[in-house]
């Protein structure tokens, strides 16, 4: 269970999140929607521990562990996974090598042994197959020269391999055509389970046709300003964010 209470986050001394509270029980998928500049990406980076995203007040815990006290790799070992909006290219490091190194680093941090090479390859083959990723592509340097859609699929593959307890999908639908969107969503849906909290951050309702959220939250001006069921997303799609943006004007930091 992810539990965020009164979270304040500043970037370069500028307050972006201003008292955000949110709880995502294990097994549930919550969507966070909001206009540009509302702080959606800040929320995902702050949860993952990106340097420069300073928590000035409030708390964020995952299954009781205080995330804000941990560095990014420690959070990863606790089960935090961020699917990046713009995945980074890693020249010279084959995707398979990268994923295996990451998986083993997490296992080591948790006091588990390394995964045996045949087991790893079997797992990678199976998951890549589900995401319609050509296995040969996993031998190429991670994300280097990959298309936008390939990069996103590679994110979901990593998520599937690392089996997180908290999966944050930051604008995963951006840059995806409709077929890729379907494949990626199927991959995400396959990850739904009793041990995983999912936070789907998106600007558009479109993605939620494929990944059905248990709850939808509206993030505006650094706070959650409305919460509801899947119907809230449809309402936002029809009416836009205007009324929330207007509502938050003049809210003191």
């Amino acid at each position: 269970m992810l539990s965020i209470e009164n979270l304040h986050v500043s970037v370069a001394d500028k307050p972006i999140l201003k008292g955000l509270s949110l709880a995502v029980p294990s097994g549930e998928v919550h969507a966070v929607m909001g206009p540009n500049g509302a702080g959606k990406s800040t929320l995902s980076y702050a949860l993952a521990g990106r340097p420069g995203y300073e928590v000035t007040a409030g708390s964020a815990t995952l299954n009781g562990d205080d995330l804000t006290a941990l560095d990014p790799s420690e959070r990863a070992a606790k089960g935090v996974f961020l699917s990046f909006q713009y995945p980074t290219e890693i020249p010279g490091v084959p995707a398979l090598t990268f994923i295996r190194t990451a998986l083993n680093a997490q296992r080591k941090a948790r006091g588990e042994g390394e995964i045996a090479a045949p087991d790893f390859l079997r797992l990678a083959r199976a998951k890549a197959g589900e995401l319609k990723i050509d296995f040969e592509m996993l031998k190429r340097p991670l994300n280097v020269g990959f298309s936008g859609g390939e990069k996103k699929r590679m994110e979901i593959l990593q998520m599937a391999m690392l089996a997180p307890k908290l999966a944050i999908l930051d604008e995963t639908d951006s840059g995806l055509d409709i077929d890729a969107l379907r494949i990626v969503s199927e991959g995400v849906n396959a990850m739904r389970g009793p041990d995983c909290s999912m936070l789907v951050i998106t600007h558009y309702q479109r993605l939620l046709d494929y990944i059905r959220p248990d709850k939808v939250h509206v993030l505006a001006a650094g706070r959650i300003v409305a919460s509801g069921g899947p119907e809230l997303a449809l309402q936002l799609e029809r009416e836009g964010y205007d009324k929330y943006v207007a509502k938050t004007e003049g809210v003191p930091a």
């Binding site: 993952a48 521990g49 990106r50 340097p51 560095d71 990014p72 790799s73 959070r75 990863a76 070992a77 935090v80 996974f81 961020l82 990046f84 995945p87 980074t88 290219e89 890693i90 020249p91 010279g92 490091v93 090598t97 990268f98 994923i99 295996r100 190194t101 990451a102 998986l103 083993n104 680093a105 997490q106 941090a109 390394e114 340097p141 990593q158 690392l162």
Partner: protein
Amino acid sequence: MAAVKETVQSVAELERYKHGFVTEIEQELAPKGLSAETVRYISAQKNEPEWMLQWRLEAFERWQALEQPHWARVDFPEIDYQDAYYYAAPKTKAGPKSLDEVDPELLATYEKLGIPLKEQAVLAGVEGAPRYAVDAVFDSVSVVTTFKKELAEAGVIFCSMSEAIREHPELVRQYLGSVVPVSDNFFACLNSAVFSDGSFVYVPPGVRCPMELSTYFRINAAESGQFERTLIIADKGAYVSYLEGCTAPMRDENQMHAAVVELVALEDAEIKYSTVQNWYPGDAEGKGGIYNFVTKRADCRGDRSKVSWTQVETGSAITWKYPSCVLRGEGSSGEFYSIAITNNRQQADTGTKMIHLGANTRSRIISKGISAGHSSNTYRGLVSAHPKAKGARNFTQCDSLLIGKDCGAHTTPYIEARNASAKFEHEATTTRLSEDQLFYAMQRGLSQEEAVQLLVNGFVKDVLQELPMEFAVEAQKLVAISLEGSVG
């Protein structure tokens, strides 16, 4: 990837510079300073023939007229050439015949360095593991050469330079100084006068050397310089792969290393020369460390001959080194693969020269420079095609990676095409190890140290894969250790 794991482990296991110990051993020193007398002393110590002494004395004459070059992008105090020892040798019976006669302290030193001198030990090693013959040079002299018998059966001569001068004078006289002339440059000339030992290799026509050959150089004595001289000749159609490794103790004063390496490849011959250079780099404030002024050159004398230099340079306070190829033979080719890492206050000015003299000669340069801390890292390279080098081709790629904000990377390529049919390509990039990449890797579970290693290993991969397998692993460890503490 196993190698990454290996890297991470090795970093955890090793101190900053694990080769920094001093071996307590009785030694023979030449009188301090440099004069014709010193040269005579060295020559006498080695029981050299008269022609060799004359060669040295001539070199000394010429050296006195030369000035130390200052064009490289390195900065160091004036060197007092009279304030150093030019010859240091472990005191043992002259020329140990077998391992049993070698001082046990010396053997212990090499064992500590992880270098197998006992053939039985090597043979008893992991099944299928590649064997390689070792020549160990301790300060000024070669202490032991392994696998000599087996190599002799193949007709390969692999011995110390001193022994070659005594046993194979005809080969030495024919080739010594034929690639790097005595007065080629200040440091090479100094070496010609006072060189102490080094390795000699001759591979006869048509022979493929049955194992990797390697030399481990170790500077132990204080205030002494090491001036080794290596000569490798691959006769027509021969092949040899040669590796050198270098370490030195941690000392507060600077020590000089001015080596000369000459390679001669005759028709259809191929020489692969790999270096893992890990001389003591000095401490974090720049105190101590080796001054590495090295002249390495290959002469692709025969048609279709091929020479490949691969270097992993992580040590030394100052590096001044340009392994080069003179592509004389028609259709000959030269390659240069380099990883040069500088951290703390290290300064490196290194690169290569590809001199295309013959028609249809080809060369390829892949250079990866990594600078961290307050270091400075310069690639300096020359590619030239002479009028007769019709159809000469070169591809050069120079990549620099910066870690942190106080280091410098410089690329200084010189390109001279003196005929219109030459085709040269040059690509260069400079990048900073990006925060985005670091965060991305850490988000997936890698610690900062592991993330840096993974990214750096990715950066240098093109070069690492040119190294023989077991050296690639060692090099990967070195890369990790050299960059310890460079981020954060």
